[in-house]
Symmetry: C2
Subunit: 183 residues, 2 copies
């Protein structure tokens, strides 16, 4: 193994990649700046230059997650049959396949909600949600239509959170259970 070059070249994305891997494998409590640095093969203080502090790195990682989330939701929104239901399924599938990342994305005490890039990323995701829910209501400015849209969001979000927390019945499995709840 040759000694690594002093300048990495693309350290920022490499750190994010390493962080996501550790997050998925070991969870948020084991995700430290030093562990990320070790995984990326750089010194323990290297992340500070790109992200400032741990909160900055986690915020950037959450933004990556929200952009991916937004893409999946937007894709589901194009479903010809039942866009709202397809959206709900995608929402829960994301939470289920990337549980630690999903939890991080909605864990505001460890994130910097004022970060512009983070705000833009969350905006993308929620815009995809809003498009579908708004399309279903006759008058988008109506209070009751907003209530229905928010209720749909709360429903799938609550399902996802309770599922990740292990609080939902394990039978008959997440997919079938979601269909019951969405029925």
């Amino acid at each position: 193994m040759a000694t690594r070059p002093y300048h990495h070249g693309a350290l920022r994305p490499a750190l994010l990649e390493a962080a996501e891997l550790i997050l998925a494998q070991d969870g948020l409590d084991r995700l430290s700046l030093r562990a990320i640095s070790r995984a990326a093969g750089v010194s323990h203080a290297a992340p500070a230059y790109h992200f400032g502090d741990l909160r900055g790195l986690l915020t950037a990682l959450a933004a990556v997650g929200f952009r991916r989330f937004a893409g999946l939701l937007a894709e589901a929104a194009t479903s010809p049959a039942d866009p709202l239901r397809a959206l709900g399924r995608s929402y829960v599938r994301f939470a289920r396949t990337q549980p630690a990342l999903f939890s991080l994305m909605f864990h505001n005490t460890v994130l910097n909600g004022n970060d512009p890039d983070f705000q833009a990323a969350t905006g993308e995701a929620f815009a995809a949600l809003a498009r579908v829910t708004a399309a279903r209501s006759p008058s988008p400015d109506d209070v009751s239509s907003r209530g229905r849209a928010l209720a749909s969001w709360c429903l799938v979000h609550g399902f996802s959170m309770l599922l990740l927390d292990g609080r939902l019945p394990s039978q008959p499995g997440p997919d079938a259970l979601l269909e019951e709840v969405l029925a």
Copy 2:
């Protein structure tokens, strides 16, 4: 200031009380065993005897929260008018008035879900929920009735989580917004 007695007498509840105070004031990230010990006026290793490790203490604190939660839900369930709606309001009110504790209670990565006392406490809370939702359905064993009951739970839980995360619109305020969603 007299030197404190070697034996505290009721250290376990005192530690839990101190922990809840710090949790409410400074958040989970600032809640350390050593900060709790300092607040209770004991040595940094004193909590270990009663709770084993930090996870044990947090689990015990979450159990306290779930017992309090269960009491409020059971009280709401006796509402003569609309028990389900009263339950939902109590659910969200608890989350809103004790946000850090509520978050901790549903933060399984830092808790020990196998702890018997914790399981008993969560069981109390969810039993109160189940009683009300089951009473509303004609045939409790029906799949669709379970779906409706779970949907109600997911709805208020998702609302609570999104609210605490600052993701819901700030207008017209949490109470009115909840009424829209429950409509």
